[in-house]
């Protein structure tokens, strides 16, 4: 039996950060990625598509988000930096196969982990992902070398990853 609209939207919202992240891997811009997610959700509600299962919704959403991202790149002539379709597919499959903690739990975990990040590191993340600065521009803003910024961003992401996974595991143990 097909999922109803509420179930489809619920699935999309449960997977919002992942679908947006998949779009971001194509377009490399967080605001555009958010727009793509909203377009995906709108298409799910308004096009003649029916879904038999949550898995079908997820697969369709990832593919649609990827296509929207590639269309956006073509319009803005940024195709040269896009990963090959086959690699993007592998990444999407990794997401689909991974057990998903609730979106709200991940956001809460990241928010808590960000609270413990030093302010200058938080500022770097804000410049990079909210204001859309490249690492070179962020380095100029912060008065740091470019390689140093690359290393800092890389370490920050790894430590946030570890922190989020620890908090989610802890939440799973206590629930």
């Amino acid at each position: 039996m097909s999922l109803n609209e509420q179930e489809v939207l619920q699935t999309l919202m449960n997977w919002r950060s992942r679908i947006s992240a998949a779009a971001w891997l194509v377009v490399h811009d967080t605001h555009t990625a958010e727009d793509i997610f909203q377009n995906v959700a709108l298409k799910a509600m308004t096009k003649d598509v029916t879904f038999d299962s949550e898995a079908a919704v997820r697969s369709w959403a990832f593919i649609t988000a990827r296509r929207e991202g590639i269309d956006w790149l073509r319009k803005h002539k940024h195709e040269k930096n896009c990963l090959d379709d086959s690699i993007l597919e592998i990444l999407e499959n990794d997401w689909v196969c991974e057990p998903a903690a609730a979106s709200g739990l991940r956001v809460e975990a990241l928010r808590e982990c960000l609270d413990s990040v030093p302010e200058n590191s938080r500022r770097l993340l804000r410049l990079r992902y909210f204001e859309g600065y490249s690492c070179e521009e962020a380095a100029n803003q912060l008065g740091a070398g470019l390689n140093a910024v690359y290393k800092r961003v890389s370490r920050l992401h790894q430590s946030l990853k570890t922190c989020i996974e620890t908090r989610i595991e802890r939440a799973g143990e206590t629930s």
Partner: protein, 451 residues
């Protein structure tokens, strides 16, 4: 290559700082190395979530330069290469976008488990009928001042004289009045949020940001005093103190509305969203009726040659009184949604109403008021007995001096008279008498039409 070197390479890839050879290396790495893919996915998820979190934080720290409209996007100096380009929205999807938002509201309740934490406390309430429905769909009875409310609650102020004030857990306070519908919920981050589906809401936001969504917009404030009036196709925000952020749902266009400014967010108006100075108050008002359907509550009837505008009172069951079910027959006329400037009630002001009833009945008239450019200030009423003058066909015209209206609820902090306050809305209703009450015209005049 060490794990650190792989991660550095991926960060440089995301920054588009690789030569063709290095790009091939990244492709091969991602194809064969699950750990590298795991890291890249994690970076992508963190990136979009950080942007979301920082976006919410950015709305809280808006600074003002005088009273000029300020856009959130103006706060952050545009960078030439910045790749923030909105995808084209689908104009044909505007009404469907509204449907999506309503569905989103339903999903938010089911998606996030009901919090066991209370989100609000009842500070004050008045009037005949307030309906409370819990997140399980069951009606909650006998709530009183001081009671706590859990997330997922839906409240409707049914009768013309009903009103409700809530203290939210976040530190903010809200008030809703007649024929308003409000839902409480918690966001994914555990913060208190509200959805105003119809009617009036006055808010005083303090402490944490308070998001309030309507059928057409999202508003958010952490330090504002404001009024929102909403129908199904438009919402009007007037800010009295502080700042309120406004986001139009159809295209996510955003603007900050500072004190003494207002904005109307409509599904039918795709023009650029701009806050405007609140106009000076006036002492005359004519409800446009057919010209502003969001401004009226009632049931439209077909117009006739004699009366082109006919709004019938809407039957509203308001529960059981003295063992018997009670129904009011209500029509309501809202000032803000009619597009009028603020309307001042003066000592000589009269309300003139033309209408019709099929039989003799007690007709009650009320006004909802607020402080001039401020919060809810009480409801006042007057009444006509059955024997007031009517024509042969049942039509009548009445002029009701505002200065002779009395308080509906004897609450200490409301003034005894509505004179000097701002008119929010006018109600006309009968209680348990279905006399086919219909209204043809509603006006506020600065003085009686006859001496």
């Amino acid at each position: 290559m060490s794990e650190e070197q792989k991660q550095d390479l991926l960060i440089r890839y995301l920054d588009e700082d690789l030569n063709p050879e290095e790009l091939k290396l990244v492709s091969e790495l991602l194809r064969t190395d699950a750990g590298a893919r795991d890291f890249l996915r994690s970076v992508a998820e963190q990136a979009v979530t950080i942007a979301d979190i920082e976006g919410t934080e950015a709305d809280r720290i808006v600074e003002l330069n005088g009273a000029r409209p300020v856009r959130v996007s103006d706060r952050f100096a545009p960078v030439d290469h910045k790749k923030v380009i909105r995808l084209e929205t689908f104009k044909w999807a505007l009404p469907l976008a509204a449907m999506l938002i309503l569905l989103f509201g339903a999903v938010m309740f089911s998606l996030f488990p009901e919090s066991k934490r209370d989100v609000a406390t009842i500070r004050a309430m008045g009037g005949d009928s307030i309906e409370w429905i819990g997140s399980d769909g069951k009606i909650i009875h006998d709530l009183k001042v001081g009671d706590s409310l859990a997330a997922g609650l839906n409240v409707r102020t049914l009768s013309g004289n009903a009103w409700l004030a809530l203290d939210l857990r976040s530190g903010s306070t809200v008030i809703i009045t007649s024929q308003s519908q409000l839902s409480t919920y918690e966001t994914g981050d555990g913060e208190v949020a509200l959805r105003l589906l119809e009617g009036n809401l006055w808010g005083t936001a303090k402490g944490k940001p308070l998001p309030i969504s309507t059928p057409t917009a999202e508003f958010i404030s952490s330090d504002g005093e404001f009024h929102i009036e909403t129908g199904q196709t438009s919402s009007i925000l007037r800010v009295y103190e502080g700042v309120v952020g406004a986001i139009r749902l159809t295209d996510r266009e955003r603007v900050n509305v500072p004190a003494n400014q207002q904005i109307s967010v409509s599904l039918n108006n795709p023009r650029r969203l701009i806050a405007a100075q609140q106009p000076d108050p006036v002492n005359y008002w004519n409800c446009g009726m057919l010209e502003c359907p969001d401004a009226v509550v009632g049931v439209w009837a077909r117009g006739s040659a004699k009366e082109p505008v006919r709004l019938k009172a809407k039957p509203v069951p308001i529960g059981v009184r003295n063992g018997a079910p009670m129904t009011i027959y209500l029509s309501l006329f809202r000032v803000a949604s009619s597009g009028s400037p603020s309307v001042l009630l003066e000592s000589d002001s009269v309300i003139r109403i033309r209408g019709r009833t099929s039989a003799e009945a007690k007709i009650r008239f009320g006004v909802v008021t607020q402080k001039m450019h401020g919060l809810f200030a009480g409801k006042y009423r007057t009444r006509l007995d059955e024997d007031f003058e009517r024509s042969e066909d049942g039509s009548w015209t009445v002029e009701l001096p505002v200065a002779e209206m009395g308080l509906l609820d004897r609450v200490d902090h409301f003034e005894k008279s509505p004179v000097g306050s701002q008119l929010n809305s006018i109600m006309v209703y009968t209680v348990d008498q279905d006399v086919e009450l219909e209204i043809h015209q509603v006006e506020l005049l600065p003085h009686p039409s006859k001496n």
